[in-house]
């Protein structure tokens, strides 16, 4: 079979990563990886400077020639040893930045938001008639926020003007016209507005926006209040990114030759593709957490539907994220040593401003990972809000609702962690963690998995590359992902106490569940999950064990309160028994909290004893 070499490049927010693969049939081998800072904003060369720096390093590591003397990519026509395929994904500066505008933020706004985030776009803001802002303040926010595109949605396809929706969406178009926004790549250009709203309103929208913007028509994201269709808007955003933004934005100048095999793709979209392939292979709902330097993306596949949300602290994406001061305050709860909130805030603020910097001390690393726990928590909350039943549906109440036994008004989240059997952590913080226990700690404390969950890590940050590959050769990408490119960290057992009716106070160390582990050599290991404690049962990395968990009354591990559940799993950390309940509640006393956190971190591993000893000898419970 023919050998082929593939170069995949991902321009992240802070770091550009280039990877060289060799494929033989449906087998893929990684030859090398190199990184360089992402050079977004560089006036003459844009992103290509960072790409070339990464490729030069990759050449030195792999002894494979990738660039010619003019720093252009070598192709197989130039020399037989040259790479056969080149592909680029980009998340620098949020690849494509979109302003979303809708009529009602929970209805058309929410659907448009899903469409934009699903394309891998960064959402600058969400404007809606009911967002509480004055019209000219909306216009000012739109004008002062540098964006590439505006996505406007609102109104149903039929009977629009019989209600009030028609007037509202036209009113929003008028606000956009008042703002007269310009694209961030060239203020002399006209902005592109993608209208994914009512088909009936198109003539009015064209009349309002014709003078100030290029209007692109897309399928309505909410053709009916009960139907959501984001695919048309997603296609339109991707096409606008490739046809309008990339050729005109100086950042992408010189990048086209490196994306000769597949067109330039937003990283978020590439990862969504990889996530979809993996969920299909595992036949289960899955959750992916991309823990970046300044952004945290959550991807989920719920009932075969891929969802993506992004949150950050630099104002790039819309999200309820507190400022650094609050982040420092909250992150302090996850530190095993005493540090003032002011000191933590100084370190976190610098990490935000210089995201390419590497934590050089244990204290800096601990603070970065503690903040990642909080960022994961907020991101999951934002994800839960967005991945929810549609709002605005007119429905008749049934007898249960009339009697108050069952309430369903839309907006309930579809993300149920007890149904999610796989969690995958990826991103720069995963790549830079120096021990698998650190990644497991971030996932356990940040996402707080429930029941029995297999936790995995993409330590090489390969998902963007494999996602881009899926667009060219989906069979190769699917085969590769199934081959075990992900590191199995461990199987987490986390019984969840009943929400209502349980005891007000649980005794520290009281039994929550009994665990029976059948190893491959036939031996049995028995252990208990105890309240407030984290335990780890180490196993060889490649061993898959069969775990049966029998919860006590009032606890659930996925099969219902008190019912046993069996699954198979394992990983480098073995089986982790998390008895902290959900949500995790830390002691209020700072000394006791630090001591407790140190105990948890010691159980999972990954931090030196000298650091954990700083917690002092406070009471363990």
């Amino acid at each position: 079979m023919d050998k082929k070499t593939i170069v995949a490049i991902d321009c992240g927010q802070a770091v550009t990563q280039a990877a060289l693969f060799e494929s033989v049939g449906l087998s893929l081998r990684l030859l090398g990886v190199a990184t360089a800072p992402t050079t977004a904003g560089e006036p003459e060369s844009g992103l290509s400077r960072g790409v070339i720096a990464a490729l030069r390093q990759l050449e030195a590591k792999t002894d494979v020639a990738l660039l010619d003397e003019h720093l252009r990519p070598l192709s197989a026509e130039d020399t037989p040893a040259a790479p056969h395929a080149w592909m680029v994904t980009t998340d620098s500066r949020g690849s494509v930045r979109v302003m979303v505008a809708g009529v009602i933020d929970d209805i058309s706004g929410q659907s448009a938001l899903k469409a934009a985030m699903g394309t891998g776009a960064a959402v600058a803001d969400l404007l809606a008639i009911n967002d509480g802002r004055l019209e000219h303040h909306r216009a000012r926010d739109l004008r002062t926020n540098p964006v590439d595109l505006v996505l406007l949605a609102g109104g149903v396809d039929e009977g629009l003007y019989s209600g009030g929706g028609g007037r509202q969406v036209v009113h929003m178009a008028r606000t956009i016209a008042m703002a007269h926004p310009r694209p961030r790549y060239n203020p002399r250009d006209r902005i592109t507005v993608i209208f994914a709203g009512s088909a009936e309103a198109r003539p009015d929208i064209a009349r309002q926006l014709g003078d100030v913007a290029d209007v692109v028509w897309a399928d309505n994201v909410r053709p009916d209040l009960a139907i959501e269709n984001t695919s048309g808007a997603r296609r339109a955003i991707l096409e606008a990114f490739r046809m309008r933004v990339v050729p005109r934005d100086s950042d992408y100048r010189g990048l086209e030759p490196f994306a000769s095999t597949a067109q330039l793709t937003p990283t978020g979209m590439a990862v969504s593709g990889a996530v979809e392939l993996l969920a299909g292979a595992w036949k289960s709902d899955v959750l992916f957490a991309d823990i970046g330097e300044v952004t945290t993306s959550i991807y989920s596949v719920i009932d075969r539907q891929v969802n993506r949300t992004v949150t950050d602290e630099i104002g790039l994406n819309r999200g309820e994220v507190p400022d650094v001061g609050s982040l420092a305050q909250d992150a302090g709860a996850w530190l095993p040593m005493e540090r003032s909130p002011g000191e933590v805030a100084n370190i976190l603020a610098l990490q935000q401003l210089r995201p390419a910097a590497i934590p050089a001390t244990w204290v800096e690393l601990c603070i970065q990972q503690a903040a990642a726990r909080e960022r994961l928590r907020w991101s999951l909350d934002a994800h839960r809000q967005l991945v929810a039943l549609l709002k605005g549906i007119h429905r008749q109440r049934n007898i249960d609702e009339v009697l108050g036994a069952y309430v369903a008004v839309g907006g309930q989240t579809l993300v149920d962690l007890s149904r999610i059997k796989y969690i995958v952590a990826t991103g720069r913080l995963v790549r830079e963690a120096t021990h698998p226990g650190q990644v497991m700690g971030m996932v356990l404390d940040g996402l707080q998995p429930q029941g029995l969950t297999q936790v995995m890590a993409d330590e090489g940050n390969m998902l963007p590359h494999l996602g881009a590959m899926a667009a060219v050769d989906s069979a190769l990408a699917a085969e590769t992902l199934a081959e075990g490119w992900l590191t199995r960290l461990g199987l987490v057992v986390a019984p969840v106490p009943r929400e209502r009716g349980g005891p007000l106070f649980r005794r520290y160390g009281s039994r929550m569940a009994r665990v029976r582990i059948e190893r491959q050599d036939g031996t049995l290991v028995r252990e208990t999950v105890d309240y407030g404690l984290v335990k780890r049962i180490p196993l060889p990395e490649e061993e898959t064990v069969r775990v049966t968990v029998s919860p006590e009354r009032g606890y659930n591990v996925g099969a219902g309160l008190g019912f046993s559940y069996t699954t198979a799993g394992g990983g480098v950390l073995g089986v982790v028994l998390d008895g902290r309940g959900r949500p995790i509640i830390s002691p209020l006393n700072p000394a006791r909290r630090r001591s407790r956190v140190a105990t948890w971190l010691r159980a999972i591993g990954g931090y030196p004893d000298s650091l954990l000893a700083e917690a002092g000898h406070g009471e363990a419970n």
Binding site: I52, A53, H180, G325, A345, Q351
Partner: protein
């Protein structure tokens, strides 16, 4: 190939191009090639759409409130425009203007009062020449002068004379040294300006404070404190040193602000020697400070001396438009990133050597950090002759050369 690192400009003579953008569409008042000074208004936004609505109590199409201002009157933010007294004077409601503006209409049947916000002026903020005009949108002002790029900032554009209140880059700003002589000045500190010093500078009317480091929490708290401080509140709090602001000439801008800039980091961080020397050399000269804006697209925090030197009063310091070279068509004179080379002046942004500056002695070998992370490192020779190994990712190049112009 040498690894690339971010550049931090600290140069005595560079050409700068800065955008001044209208917050809403409006009118640009200057033309290409025109010389501007910091007070020059380059444009106004259109006030046509900036409407604020007050709903007064009505009863059967009769307004219950008594009007204190009429249509066409100018009102200030917080000023009562009507009041309603009810229940024999025991109940009282006051309607105050949310903005500085003009009452444009009042509907007696519905009790709706519309206040049009004053048009907001955008000033040049620096000495220079207008290089480019995008009608209804923005202007590009180019100037030549000394530029010190900062790490973080709080607040808007501010200008004033430089006043150095530290003897060395390592010295903190002592609140005791701040007095009425700081009014209208840009106060330069050494390693740290804490919250006491910031408040002292603010109460004495300083336009800006520049220090090597500012505590993040204190900077944020100060920004929140200043954000809604109107002239009236400022005068009430700091009556002994309150300074006059001509509200009418500044449209809606009646807030008393002070910009804060950290040149080298958060917490106590000595200012890099080049920056301190440059600012000290410019003491007494007109400069501007920009706190920058957050986000990857935002303006970078910086302090620049673009004003005429006292000895050359009347001589425009701005370059002619044709002097602006192509390399300067960016936010920084020679790009954001530079290749590392031996002998290059750099500073460390993170880790045990945070805030220290030195020269590259060697680079390229792998180093193992205390966390176990293996990364490409560089060996720095510090000013005291010692050498330290730091990750290349944690280095910033201190760009001191006259890169353009």
């Amino acid at each position: 190939m040498a690894p690339i690192c971010r550049r931090l400009v600290t140069a005595p003579n560079v050409t700068m191009r800065r955008e001044r953008r209208l917050p809403l569409s409006g009118e640009i008042l200057v033309r290409t090639g025109e010389a501007v000074n910091p007070e020059t208004v380059v444009g106004y936004n259109s006030a046509e759409e900036c409407l604020h609505i007050l709903r007064l109590d009505v009863d059967e199409s009769r307004v219950l409130a008594k009007l204190l201002r009429n249509v066409g009157d100018t009102v200030k933010r917080g000023e009562p425009v009507a009041y309603y007294m009810y229940f024999f004077g025991l109940g009282y409601r006051e309607y105050v203007s949310p903005v500085n503006g003009t009452i444009s209409s009042f509907d007696r049947s519905s009790g709706t009062m519309v206040i049009r916000e004053h048009a907001r002026p955008v000033t040049a903020g620096m000495y220079g020449v207008v290089e480019e005009v995008i009608e209804g949108h923005s202007v590009i002002v180019s100037a030549r002068g000394a530029l010190v790029e900062g790490t973080a900032g709080w607040g808007e554009l501010a200008h004033g004379q430089l006043l150095v209140l530290a003897d060395s880059p390592e010295q903190d700003l002592d609140a005791q040294r701040i007095g009425p002589h700081c009014r209208g000045k840009i106060v330069v500190a050494g390693a740290l300006a804490d919250s006491r010093a910031l408040l002292a500078a603010y109460r004495h009317g300083a336009r800006a404070v520049v220090a090597g480091g500012i505590n993040k929490a204190e900077g944020d708290e100060f920004e929140r404190f200043v954000a809604d401080m109107s002239y009236e509140e400022y005068a009430a709090r700091f009556y002994s040193s309150g300074h006059e602001i001509d509200v009418d000439n500044h449209g809606g801008l009646d807030r008393v602000t002070m910009t804060v800039l950290a040149t080298d980091g958060f917490g106590r961080t000595p200012m890099r020697a080049e920056a301190f020397a440059l600012l000290r050399a410019g003491e007494g000269r007109e400069a501007y400070v920009d706190g920058g804006t957050g986000g990857p697209e935002g303006r970078l925090p910086e302090v620049a001396v673009t004003g005429p030197h006292p000895a050359q009063a009347g001589t425009p310091a701005a370059p002619a438009a044709n002097e602006v070279c192509a390399a300067a068509r960016c936010r920084m004179p020679c790009g954001l990133w530079g290749g590392l080379a031996e002998g290059m002046r750099v500073r460390v942004v993170s880790g045990p050597s945070r805030g220290r500056a030195g020269w590259i002695a060697a680079w390229g070998s792998d180093i193992v950090l205390e966390t176990g992370h293996v990364t490409t490192g560089a060996r720095l020779r510090l000013a005291d002759g010692t050498e330290v190994d730091v990750p290349v990712a944690n280095i910033e190049i201190v760009e001191t050369g006259p890169a353009a112009g």
